[in-house]
Symmetry: C3
Subunit: 312 residues, 3 copies
Amino acid sequence: MRRLATIVAAVVGAGAVASAAAPVASGAVRQYWVAAVPAPTWNMAPNERDAMAGTMLSPSQTVFPTVVFRRYTPHWGHPIRNVPSGSSNQDLIPGPLLRARAGDRLYVHFKNLDTLYKRPHSMHFHGVHYKPSSDGAYLPGVSGRDAEVMPGQSWTYKLTAGHDSVGVWPYHDHSPSMEDSIAGGMYGMLSILGRGQKRPDREFEVVFAPMGDYQTIDGRAFVGNTPVFTSIVGQTIQWDVMAMGSEHHTFHVHGHRWVDRDGRDVDTQTVGPAETFAIRWREEDPGTWLYHCHVESHMMAGMIGTYHVTRR
Amino acid sequence: MRRLATIVAAVVGAGAVASAAAPVASGAVRQYWVAAVPAPTWNMAPNERDAMAGTMLSPSQTVFPTVVFRRYTPHWGHPIRNVPSGSSNQDLIPGPLLRARAGDRLYVHFKNLDTLYKRPHSMHFHGVHYKPSSDGAYLPGVSGRDAEVMPGQSWTYKLTAGHDSVGVWPYHDHSPSMEDSIAGGMYGMLSILGRGQKRPDREFEVVFAPMGDYQTIDGRAFVGNTPVFTSIVGQTIQWDVMAMGSEHHTFHVHGHRWVDRDGRDVDTQTVGPAETFAIRWREEDPGTWLYHCHVESHMMAGMIGTYHVTRR
Amino acid sequence: MRRLATIVAAVVGAGAVASAAAPVASGAVRQYWVAAVPAPTWNMAPNERDAMAGTMLSPSQTVFPTVVFRRYTPHWGHPIRNVPSGSSNQDLIPGPLLRARAGDRLYVHFKNLDTLYKRPHSMHFHGVHYKPSSDGAYLPGVSGRDAEVMPGQSWTYKLTAGHDSVGVWPYHDHSPSMEDSIAGGMYGMLSILGRGQKRPDREFEVVFAPMGDYQTIDGRAFVGNTPVFTSIVGQTIQWDVMAMGSEHHTFHVHGHRWVDRDGRDVDTQTVGPAETFAIRWREEDPGTWLYHCHVESHMMAGMIGTYHVTRR
């Protein structure tokens, strides 16, 4: 029996390994390698259009150099896509979706490869358990190297997913460069399931955040640039919703409703900075549907996208 | 038995008729006729005063031409008041209160009579089930006539109230003129009861929305202009609360508390754009009470009114 | 048995007395004496630094004259600290923490000693039961002396804590000077326990409110000026969180999570103007942790502090 548990713990997906020191009986050890890397020509609106308003944009308005979180193979082998199977997201913004289950330990190896701005960076995680040396938040006279990883340096954040960690949670830069780094897209999500909880067929990450003059979803603005999420009737889909920045938003999906965790049927839900929620439903409604922030000025500034449901 | 069900389905209030095609056993078919009509001299503050501050206003600040939703008798006979029995609201803004019960089908016949601005308009409904052709939301290259009903034209939106539709929900223009139309008051509410749920004695609609330089409740600003809601000790009253626009609000009623649906006792509750909640209590406290948005700058800009409770 | 109840009711802490008229069987009578008094040199940042940004401030930016709520001994004997045992807060802003239990009656004796601005003032309480004459909210032509207590005058607010009053609630000036008074710090909290509910070992008051150009916690801005909350591993701690003003906030504590009352595990929670929540946990994590508003612009403008947990 013990042998089986060890085997189960050893095979929890790419980047996860069993550790002798880990509490194997209660969960796996998952290792992630994440670097801060330049994205020198990030484009918020690759199609250069606000399709809803029928107006054109230009690269001078929509392209800028930034630094983002990028996933690597173990031991910094080579960069890989941030997007895991079934997530339906684009690459780079948000950072890698870090998956775990309650009871798991996570080692997140972080390396600062910011050759663009040469700023210190860090990772601060919500929702999980850790000691102060894995907090990653700058506090003059108190915090240590975890909160100011200098260019070329690394830090390993040691986290535990408790039973109170089930759900989705933000991570983001909390170093002295935090304000600029978050404005440039240095954020991502943890997605933590219960021990026996089933994974959804499709998982969609929606991060509402301002970027320059626009209001973006996953660093992109306006229909046709923001992620196009897709599913098939009969699939279980999950939306991971989060906000970063300084504003409150209301997440709305056309033609659907969900039960929020306090039992209310809703189709519009407030999310403030660093708040998150995960919602699920079994898809039954084919069509092309809008999802957007229902704060009107945000929607008009780009915070809107499409969701395509096809028949099996 | 079947005959009885047919009869019950046939008499669900003004504008509702039984349809041969309707699933009579599971609910009624309710038909509503709603037009977009000019309101050429809408006045946000008919008494021309900010009574709390003791300052005077002038019609040049408070009167403007707009387009609103207006209820009609069946088959466009003639316009009638938007306000159903027991609602205690003023007329015109918000649009007609569309009532239904879980299991009902709704046919909302919409006609664009906007002779003022001659804009396209539409109705987009939250909370209910429908096919994409009843979504009413403009999406270039995808949406159809439901999302751009031109002046003089009509569209019928076909909706179903599911068991997950119980509560109050917004509807609003989602056509290409959406931004201007919502700023002018083109919104209203669905109020959906459970199959056997008792209707309250009094139902009050409170829509928080900006309008020009003011912060309005139901298109009106400042005490004496906003709705004066009334009830009698012993009555069951329901507040239908909603926000439209780009800001978050906090709804507060003096001298009362309520249990929100997650079991908390509160007397102040956040509502963001397109969010809604319905709260009920049995009235026990005679007096003249303030209700208002507790966002201070909103309250000072007009988002406040009075609620009068008298003894039997 | 009845005798015992009378004795229990008579000894509920400083300022509480038994009243012949009180429903002794169901609770105690608690009396508080609170005055509006000048604080001529309130300093939002006594250390004159934004430690996170590494910048200096000057008293010309951070010091200003204001009027605050100040607790007195019975019958206006002499001023005492606003901070009760175990609260870990600084003095003066917020006003006195008014504690009670469900079933108690509260007499809050208020005196206006505003010799600085010579404005009318009042106290308006959330969460408790009262008659209109204890509402304390100015409404021209309707409200009475409770809503405009002039300098030198007094008013006694008569409140009852019901079973729907358990939790924490705001009180604040709601007189004609409300806007200026709240901007200057005239607010505080009621903390009401259930009949048999255990008091926490430590109780921390966190009031998010703008003040001049800064975003303050309890009238103070930036780490080192805002309250330093402390606890010992094993203690039960309670955070009383509230917002005043015109903005929504998200309360976040590093390295901890809590169950909100609808059963969700969170570590970041929205609080809008006049909303409140009380959260508790048994402390297990030694370290120096940040607590802050996660609205980035608010955090950068001072809305951040530290929480120290030591081992027993």
